[in-house]
Structure formats: structure tokens, C-alpha cells
């Protein structure tokens, strides 16, 4: 009850004007400059008793040796060297107090006994901070420093702590201090158990230390704990790889899914596919610039606006390419390949001429930045959204092809062009729109990739080979194959990385695909039947 009242009071005071605090603290701060070490210590204790976070910078300044007494009026000030003299600031409010000559101030001296008091006080102050995050960070700091001086403060704070997470952090910090110091075996073994529960790299390092130096009983406990921690780490490592694999797989899926339409459904080898992605990324850049210019407050929505814009721009470029070049080359896939490669060169150079060869800055909206922790995993929101987005696009495309009139026409033209034509489907228009759809999806991929990759004229080049690998591996003409192909290649790549390194891992994947094509020349999920030979 009493504690609750204290917190309430603290919260209330924190809300009140900070000036009132400064007024209360000022006499205590002045006490720091009273003269003898004993009096300084008393003043520190007095400051610590207030439990006010505003005290922290003052004591930190004292620790750093920046705290001085102004001889003129005996005021305690923070003095930092500036030119020949000192620049003075108020230790509590941070307000500038002008400059002073070197002889006008006198440093407040501290000895080793005071230093210990100071560091314990600082630890206690931050551990007692009303803000749970600050308390947790302080506990983490103690965990890392293993500072034995903080033990008392830690015990006091632990007794008062109510927040479950902070409590855990403090218990772990206490365990780390105990294990590093010379506590009795029973305490150390209890500490080992706490660290085993924490189970991360830091805990393993601490346990390793204990396993090498402690008494036999402690060694034994530590060795067992290490085995358990390592097992846990391996498990989380696998989960981490799985997540990275999923993340890479979704990027591959995004890049390849448009290709699955143009190459898989239409049989057109579009080497300019990567440039459609690049155009989508630049469309995002332009939309963001527009937002920065006219509506900076709505910046968080710029990505949402960029999606349809990128889809339409890339799609329009795709339709233009189909109408002007590709339609003359149907049935000649190798020529299509060359012509679209030429287009990709021209598009790259066009973008380079317009936007310059350097990377363009595309910002992340606030809801896409930051990260959260899930057990031993750190997941960034950006990556999470890209995974979600990739699956959304995939689902939408699947529905579009299966359930809409347009999708029906696409499938009809793919399966039997002349019959579709006879039934009144305008095949030329369907061709153009299908190509536009594939290109537009590439544009959507560009919006997502602009968040994780450099937006430069070469953006698309980095994805074109990977996307072809995914489509060919998954099986041409099969969207599900593309999904499985992308996730499988992403996963394999990331699982190889820790053992072989990123580059060698990629080489191995390429060799694997080359060999795989030999076994199944038409991919994982090959279309069967007469349509294949046509």
C-alpha cells in the first residue's frame, strides 16, 4: 500500500513541472560542494534518497569529474573545457551559465571510496527509475558489467520490483554478478539455473567462465547448463534460419511471380522483367517524393499509394512492350529473349539518364520500421510485412486467374489460342493485358524491394537470374510450383549460408538447380499432356 502510494506520488511529481523538482534538489546538489569527502558522501546519499531520475546526470558528472564549485557564490556547476576557460552549465536543468576563467571554479574531488558509492548509487537510481524500460536497461547493463558494487542496489530493487519482465532481467543480472564474484556455491548453482533459463549467447559465455573457474559442484552444474543452453541455441538458430529462409523466399516469390505469369503462362521469356521491378521501385520513390513535398504528415501512407501507382506504371510499360515488340515474336522464344534483353539495357540507361546512376533514398513508413523479439528471434517489421505482402499478392493472383472472367480468358488463350479466338475472345488484347498483369506484379515487387534493397538502375539485374531459377525450378506454367520453388530455394540458401558462406551457398544452389533440371527438365511441377508439346 505504502509502495503503491510512493509510485503514485512519483508519477504525479513526474507529471508536475520539472522546475519544482529542480527547486527541491538544488540544496542537495549544493551540498555536494560542501567540502570534505564525508559531507559529499552524505549529499550523494541525500540525492539518492529522492529516487529522482533528474539526479542521475548530476552524479554522472561528479563521476566524470566535471562537477565544479563556482568560487564566487559557492554554486555547484558542470564545467567543461572550452578554449582557455570553462563553459558552465547548471547540473540539474542543463541551462547554460556562461563561461568562467580557469581559476574561478574548483573541481569537486572524489576518492575511491566515493567512486564506489557513486557507481552503486547510479546503479540503484536507474534500477529504481519509475520507467520500467530504464530499469530493465539498467539491469541489462549490470548483467553485462557483472559489477559487484551493484549487488546491494540490485537486491533492494529486486525486493521492490513488480514488473515481471524487469524482475526477470534483475534476477539474471544478480545471477551474473554472483557467478562472476565469489559467492557461496549454493548461490552460484542457483545463479547457473537462472542463466540456463535465459539461454542465450551471453548466458553461455558466463556459464563457460563458471565451468572453468568454479568449484567442482559449480563446474558440474555449469557444464550441464551449457549443454542445455546450446541445445536451445541450436533450436533458435534453426528457427532463425527458417525465418530468414522464409523472408528470402518471399522476396524471391515476389520477384518471380510476375515472371510466372509472362514466362509460365504466356511462354514469353522476358529478360526485362527485372527492369519492371526497378520501375516499380522508382515509382515508389516518386510517390514518396510527392508526399514529402506536399503531405509530409501522411508519409506513412505513401507506400499504400505507391502500390497501385507502381502496378499501373509497370503494367503500362509492359503493355507497351508487348504491343510494340513481343507480339511480333510469338513462337520464337529465343528471339524474344534477345529483344527483351535489349529493352532491359535501354530501360536501365533511360532510368540512369533521368534519375542519375546513384542510389535513391526510399524511406520506410513508421509501421514498417523497428523490430520485435519472439523468443530467441529478432523479427523486423519490414521483413514481416514483405512476407505477408508476398503471400497476399500470390493469393490475389491465384484468385484473379481462377475466379475472374479475365483469368478465364487468359487460361483459354493459353490452352488453345485458335479455339479461344473462335469463341470470341480477343486474343491479342488478352496477350497484351496478360503481359501487363505480369509486369504490374513485378512493379508491386518493386515497391516491396525498395524497402530492403538499393533503389538504383541496377536493381532489377540482381533479381532476374534468381527469378528465372525459381520459375524453372518450380515448373513453368504452375503458380504453385513458383511458390514452392521460391520458398525452397530461399530456405536452402539460408540453411547453407552458415556452413558454406553466402557466396558459396549461392553457387551450390545454382549447381543444384542445373543438376535438378537434368533430372526434371520441366521443373518440380511439370505440366503433363499434349499442351506441353505445342
Amino acid at each position: 500500500m505504502h509502495r503503491a502510494f510512493c509510485w503514485l506520488l512519483a508519477a504525479f511529481l513526474a507529471l508536475a513541472a520539472p522546475a519544482s523538482f529542480a527547486a527541491d534538489l538544488a540544496p542537495l546538489v549544493r551540498g555536494l560542494g560542501a567540502g570534505s569527502y564525508a559531507e559529499t558522501e552524505k549529499a550523494i546519499a541525500g540525492l539518492a534518497e529522492t529516487g529522482d531520475p533528474a539526479v542521475v546526470p548530476v552524479i554522472e558528472a561528479l563521476q566524470a569529474g566535471d562537477l565544479h564549485i563556482r568560487k564566487a557564490d559557492g554554486a555547484v556547476v558542470v564545467a567543461k573545457r572550452a578554449g582557455n576557460g570553462y563553459a558552465l552549465t547548471d547540473p540539474l536543468t542543463g541551462a547554460a551559465l556562461g563561461e568562467a576563467d580557469r581559476n574561478a571554479v574548483e573541481k569537486i574531488r572524489i576518492n575511491n571510496a566515493l567512486r564506489r558509492t557513486i557507481s552503486a548509487t547510479l546503479g540503484a537510481l536507474t534500477l529504481m527509475s519509475p520507467d520500467a524500460n530504464t530499469r530493465r536497461q539498467a539491469a541489462e547493463a549490470v548483467f553485462k558489467s557483472r559489477d559487484a558494487n551493484a549487488l546491494d542496489a540490485l537486491n533492494t530493487a529486486l525486493a521492490k520490483e513488480t514488473d515481471e519482465r524487469v524482475r526477470r532481467a534483475m534476477t539474471q543480472a544478480r545471477a551474473s554478478v554472483l557467478l562472476a564474484g565469489d559467492a557461496p556455491d549454493a548461490d552460484k548453482i542457483a545463479a547457473v539455473a537462472v542463466l540456463q533459463e535465459r539461454g542465450d549467447q551471453d548466458a553461455r559465455a558466463l556459464l563457460n567462465g563458471a565451468a572453468n573457474t568454479g568449484s567442482d559442484a559449480v563446474k558440474d552444474a555449469a557444464t550441464k547448463a551449457i549443454a542445455s543452453v546450446e541445445q536451445r541455441l541450436a533450436l533458435w538458430g534453426a528457427a532463425q534460419n527458417l525465418w530468414y529462409g522464409l523472408s528470402l523466399g518471399s522476396v524471391l516469390l515476389l520477384a518471380a511471380i510476375g515472371l510466372a505469369v509472362t514466362f509460365g503462362v504466356m511462354g514469353v521469356i522476358n529478360m526485362a522483367h527485372g527492369e519492371m521491378v526497378m520501375i516499380g521501385a522508382y515509382a515508389t520513390f516518386l510517390v514518396q517524393e510527392a508526399f514529402r513535398q506536399w503531405a509530409p504528415g501522411l508519409f506513412d501512407f505513401s507506400i499504400l499509394v505507391a502500390l497501385p501507382v507502381a502496378f499501373l506504371v509497370s503494367g503500362a510499360v509492359g503493355v507497351a512492350i508487348e504491343r510494340s515488340v513481343i507480339r511480333w515474336l510469338y513462337g520464337r522464344p529465343l528471339e524474344t529473349l534477345l529483344a527483351t534483353w535489349g529493352l532491359s539495357l535501354a530501360l536501365q540507361q533511360a532510368v540512369r539518364s533521368i534519375f542519375g546512376p546513384t542510389n535513391r533514398e526510399v524511406g520506410a513508413p513508421s509501421w514498417m520500421s523497428g523490430a520485435f523479439e519472439l523468443g530467441g528471434l529478432t523479427i523486423t517489421y519490414g521483413r514481416l510485412w514483405i512476407v505477408v505482402f508476398a503471400f497476399l499478392v500470390f493469393g490475389a493472383l491465384l484468385v484473379a486467374l481462377r475466379k475472374t472472367w479475365f483469368g478465364l480468358s487468359i487460361r483459354a488463350v493459353t490452352q488453345n489460342r485458335s479455339m479461344a479466338n473462335a469463341m470470341g475472345i480477343r486474343t491479342a488484347r488478352v496477350d497484351a493485358l496478360t503481359f501487363g498483369l505480369g509486369s504490374g506484379i513485378a512493379g508491386l515487387a518493386g515497391v516491396a524491394l525498395s524497402q530492403i534493397d538499393n533503389v538504383s538502375p541496377n536493381l532489377g539485374q540482381g533479381y532476374i537470374i534468381d527469378s528465372f531459377m525459381v520459375v524453372v525450378f518450380g515448373g513453368v506454367g504452375n503458380l504453385w510450383g513458383t511458390l514452392v520453388g521460391a520458398l525452397a530455394l530461399g530456405g536452402v540458401n539460408k540453411f547453407l549460408e552458415p556452413y558454406a558462406g553466402a557466396v558459396l551457398g549461392k553457387i551450390l544452389v545454382l549447381i543444384f538447380i542445373i543438376l535438378f533440371i537434368q533430372r526434371r527438365p520441366r521443373g518440380l511441377f511439370a505440366l503433363k499432356g499434349r499442351a506441353v508439346e505445342a
Binding site: 515474336l329 535501354a346 549461392k506
Partner: protein, 379 residues
């Protein structure tokens, strides 16, 4: 007998091309070494090296035409064979530096000393001998092509799929050669060459010698390719290009024919690469990039695929254009190259050399324009 085999493939085009090459082989040395530096007829060492480079590309284009023009395999990985040949030659040139490197190590090239290697890796042994390097120039690309083709043709990977996996092959090689652990200079590749067969690589006379060697190699490659194409074997190759299944049903083992042409082509590309390296003075992994393979394809397309002489012409023309554009109008080069890809595929499917035939076909018989020329079917 053998002479007849080699001569029967030669026709009027061949006569023109070989004459031009012979003239070059005489005129260039005379103009480069026999004239005063201020004479209008004088060719600088730089120009000689540039011409030599074009002819190396011409040989690469020729080798590509052998597989694309006559067997219908569009390789997007020929730069891999070219670069492997180049690396074999580069390794020989590296060993010739000896103790004249920056670190003065008699055995190890500079980059190995830099990486704190103490011993020469096993695959570097033998490259101090020219004959060994000369064999490797053809053997390494040949073996890779043989292994790759053996798997791919046996599993009947054709058309676009084959193109894409050749691209994957060269991409994988590029990534591999970028690694320092490969022991081939990583990013920087092999450079700073001093001597070839005891001659200073930088000297004008050596450059002229290398140029003549390139002309001879190109002429030999051309005669060999013509002979192969005109032989009975060549007829089967063309048949494979136009209707592979039918040829197989007639009892030919098409895989073997394809494998032969594919491996031969890779060896020729390797030689081109080996001649290229001492003339430009450097070889690095970016030569493996898929883009350079595709660029070689456009040389063939511009000149006219399936003509042998066309690709030689195309390679020289496109690279001359590249030298001109990248110096005078660097912004426009990629537009020009990209436009070339599109225009040639749309309007010149048979290239420059096929232009006359294309016009002949089109003018008198407009009504039958839907009948496609034979050489486009198997593509």
C-alpha cells in the same frame, strides 16, 4: 584428303573473309612497325591491341555461331568458356612475372603473398610452361563444356531451358571466381603481366605478334568451322537444329552430334579468351557476367547467324561501335546496344549477311509471307 575436307567448306564469302584476314596479317605489322610514328599510315600500339581485341571477339562469335547457327543451341554462357581460356593464359602470364612482382616472391603471385599463402595451390602447377597453359586453354573449357553438355543433352534439356541453365552456369562461375579462396586473384583477377614467351607484353612488336597470332587463330577457326559445317556431320547438325526429334527417329544419336559441336565451340571460345588476355592485359571475374555472354549473342545476330562469316563481321562492327560510342557519347551506348537487340530481332532475323536473301524472299512472293524461313523453325 584432309586438305579436301578443309577446303570443301569454303565458298565465296570465305574467300573474301580469308583475303581480308591475310591483308590484315600483312598490313598491320607493316603499318605498326615499318612506318614512322608521325606518318598518317602509322598504327599505334593501342590501335593494334584494339584490333586484336575485336578479332578475339570475332573468334568468340564464330564459336557461338557454330552452336547457335548450326545446332540451334542458344548459349548464354559462352563467355564462361572464353574467360576460362583467358584465366588459363593469365595463370601462365602470372607465373612469368616470377620475382618481379611487388613482393618479389619467385613462386607466388602477389595476391597470394598478400593473402598470406605460403604454397602454390595444386592447380597452379605446370602453368609456368607455355605448352601446358596452351593445352589447358582448350582443355579446361572443353572439359567443362563436355561435362555440362553430356548431362544436359542426355536429359534432353532444350531451347529456353538450356539457355537459362547456361546462364546459371556462367553466373555461378562468376560468383566462384569472385571469391579470394579460389586462388585466382578474386575481385581483381590476374593482371600486371610482364612477359609472354620471353617477350615484353607491352612492346609494340609483341603486340603485333599477338595480333598476327589472333588473325591466324581466327582464320584457322573459320576454316575448321566451315569444314565441320560442310561435312556430313554438319548436315546432321543442321538437321538437329531444324527438327531434332525427326533426326533422332531416323536413328541418329543426336546427343553425340550436339556434344561434339558444343565442346568444339567451347574450345574455340577458350582460344579466343587466351589471345584476348595478353592483349588487354587483365582478366577478372566480371568477364563471366551473363551480360557479356548475351552481348556475344548479339554480335552473331547482327552479322547473321548460321553464316560463319556474319558473326565475324558482326563482332567487329558492334565492338567498333561500342568503342566509338563509349568514348564519344557514353550515355547513348546502352540505348544503341539495346536498340540493336530489338531492331535486329524484329527486322533482320538473318542479320546483315542474310539481308539480301531476306529481301529476295520477300519481294516476289508477298502472298506466301506466312511461310517461315527454314532456319527459324527449330529455335
Amino acid at each position: 584428303m584432309l586438305t579436301r575436307f578443309f577446303l570443301m567448306g569454303l565458298d565465296k564469302k570465305a574467300g573474301v573473309l580469308l583475303t581480308v584476314l591475310a591483308v590484315l596479317a600483312v598490313a598491320v605489322p607493316v603499318m605498326a612497325l615499318g612506318t614512322a610514328p608521325d606518318s598518317p599510315w602509322h598504327l599505334s600500339t593501342h590501335t593494334v591491341a584494339l584490333l586484336g581485341k575485336y578479332l578475339c571477339f570475332a573468334l568468340l562469335a564464330l564459336s557461338l555461331d557454330l552452336v547457335w547457327g548450326f545446332v540451334g543451341i542458344l548459349s548464354l554462357g559462352h563467355a564462361a568458356f572464353f574467360t576460362l581460356g583467358g584465366y588459363a593464359m593469365g595463370m601462365y602470364l602470372m607465373r612469368q612475372i616470377g620475382s618481379r612482382g611487388v613482393y618479389g616472391n619467385a613462386d607466388l603471385p602477389d595476391f597470394m603473398v598478400f593473402l598470406n599463402w605460403t604454397e602454390l595451390p595444386w592447380y597452379w602447377h605446370g602453368f609456368d610452361q607455355f605448352w601446358f597453359a596452351a593445352i589447358m586453354v582448350m582443355l579446361v573449357p572443353g572439359l567443362l563444356a563436355f561435362a555440362f553438355g553430356w548431362f544436359a543433352f542426355r536429359s534432353r534439356v532444350t531451347g529456353v531451358y538450356l539457355s537459362i541453365i547456361t546462364q546459371a552456369m556462367t553466373f555461378a562461375l562468376m560468383l566462384a571466381f569472385f571469391r579470394n579462396d579460389m586462388g585466382l586473384g578474386g575481385n581483381n583477377g590476374l593482371t600486371d603481366f610482364k612477359e609472354i614467351l620471353g617477350f615484353d607484353v607491352q612492346a609494340a612488336s609483341t603486340r603485333v605478334g599477338l595480333f598476327v597470332a589472333t588473325v591466324v587463330a581466327l582464320a584457322a577457326g573459320y576454316i575448321l568451322a566451315s569444314a565441320v559445317v560442310a561435312s556430313k556431320l554438319g548436315k546432321v547438325l543442321i538437321a538437329v537444329r531444324d527438327a531434332e526429334s525427326r533426326v533422332r527417329f531416323l536413328g541418329y544419336e543426336t546427343d553425340r552430334y550436339k556434344l561434339f559441336a558444343w565442346t568444339l565451340s567451347a574450345c574455340m571460345a577458350g582460344v579466343a579468351g587466351a589471345l584476348y588476355v595478353p592483349q588487354v592485359g587483365i582478366i577478372n571475374p566480371s568477364e563471366f557476367s551473363p551480360a557479356s555472354s548475351i552481348e556475344a549473342v548479339i554480335w552473331v545476330a547482327v552479322g547473321g547467324r548460321g553464316t560463319l562469316a556474319g558473326p565475324v563481321l558482326g563482332a567487329v562492327l558492334v565492338n567498333f561501335g561500342k568503342s566509338y560510342f563509349t568514348a564519344a557519347l557514353p550515355e547513348l551506348w546502352l540505348f544503341a546496344l539495346g536498340g540493336l537487340f530489338v531492331l535486329v530481332t524484329l527486322f533482320l532475323p538473318r542479320g546483315i549477311l542474310g539481308l539480301a536473301a531476306q529481301l529476295r524472299d520477300r519481294l516476289p512472293a508477298r502472298a506466301t509471307v506466312t511461310a517461315k524461313p527454314a532456319d527459324q523453325k527449330g529455335v
